[in-house]
Symmetry: C2
Subunit: 248 residues, 2 copies
């Protein structure tokens, strides 16, 4: 199976260094329109997109998102908010006296809607030669983020995307290999990978990446320390709990 | 701005009636490979995909997902699980004595990873002439779903997708209009739509859909009763809370 669309999905990789060339208003509209065209639960579009144009706010976001200064330099910076507020406000405007408070199911459904829309924005941008990078760190520092973005209750960041044209070095960068299908897909019911299978999964991925003499224990321990046990990862869970408290 | 990829993103609409023609193994592989190629936090692929091939399990899922029998008739049925279990198991296998328990930040990051991958699967399928439909109801009935899919703690359904070739009537069906950009995008900070703006947003969407004499109050009240205040919507929040309790 091969076609232009499949090729584009496989070619897309994160871009973190941009040429500085702007994204035109037409390109911006095409990226946003593709996001809107994405599948959405009950055609509700349970998201709001913030287009961050203010340089000072960009700087604040770059700091709040684990100090990533390339966020400031992106041609376009979109925060995809899971929004469980618009529809209840419409219900009230239409005369529903007391719609129920949004719950955790609404939060997760809105999170899905926002991320599905974001991925269409990524694919649209790629088709225009515009690179992108997800910033998952936007989930951190709920209190400061709420203040910076004026987020009301029941509205929280699902993901952030920055866009721009890739410099040559970024274009040449190899896309990191993924795990093989066996590592990721089960038939019918969930089954844990055994320790031996996990070792083989990671080794196969490393081999795909051209890594020689891959040391599972050393690599995975280092990754765990650098990512999973990092301050930003703990902060992300503290912050996510603060957002989810709105839905309790 | 126009190209084949943007056209495909706009053309894609949900398909709920299938011809019965199977999805070939090559097509299945192309759909899954596109999902794997999606952006993923730290290249972790925080998801597991269940390929539901067992007819009895399909029937169970169709029932648990708000009684939608077309789920049984799909050529391919994939459950995208947010998986916060694989990496901690790898950490242990690599000799990390006691990795921290996954928290709400891990849950939301995995939810994002799973939905982003799912949307690539949708776009890949569309490029092969294969229709798809998200089933958000897969979030409901946590206890029965866990039992049916053998879900361990810290693994929960992010979304479900069914695939198949659309019958002619589904191909001809008009894609429902979305809200206009003004209704969905804010510059820099969040701003509520006023009641008057909400009325105008909904009226503009209805007009795009060719609905004459749109009655905002009546339509929104009915939607609220049918969707937001429905049993399945309340069940989704109860069930989502049960899944999220793993991360508390």
């Amino acid at each position: 199976m091969d076609n232009e669309i499949l090729q584009a999905l496989h070619a897309r990789k994160s871009v973190r260094v941009f040429t500085g060339e702007p994204v035109s208003m037409g390109e911006r509209a095409a990226i946003l329109d593709a996001a809107f065209a994405a599948p959405t639960a009950g055609n509700q579009q349970l998201y709001t997109i913030l287009d961050i144009t203010d340089p000072a706010l960009r700087r604040t976001l770059a700091e709040l998102c684990d100090h990533q200064p390339f966020i400031e330099k992106a041609a376009l910076c979109l925060v995809f908010l899971a929004d469980c507020r618009r529809w209840p406000r419409a219900y009230r405007a239409a005369g529903v006296p007391a719609p129920r408070k949004p719950g955790p199911g609404d939060a997760l459904l809105a999170m899905a809607d926002a991320c599905i829309a974001a991925q269409n924005a990524v694919t649209a941008a790629e088709s225009l030669g515009i690179g992108s990078c997800y910033i998952g760190d936007v989930l951190e520092h709920a209190e400061a983020m709420r203040e910076a973005l004026h987020l009301p209750p029941a509205v929280f960041p699902a993901c952030m995307l920055v866009f721009g044209r890739p410099v040559a070095q970024q274009k040449a960068r190899r896309k990191p290999a993924r795990f093989a299908a066996d590592a990721l897909v089960c038939e019918n019911t969930y089954r844990d990978r055994t320790d031996a299978e996990l070792r083989a999964d990671f080794a196969a991925r490393a081999a795909q990446n051209g890594e020689r003499d891959f040391d599972f224990d050393a690599w995975v321990q280092a990754f765990c320390a650098r990512k999973y046990e990092s301050d930003f990862s703990r902060e992300m869970s503290r912050s996510a709990a603060a957002y989810l408290a709105d839905f309790a």
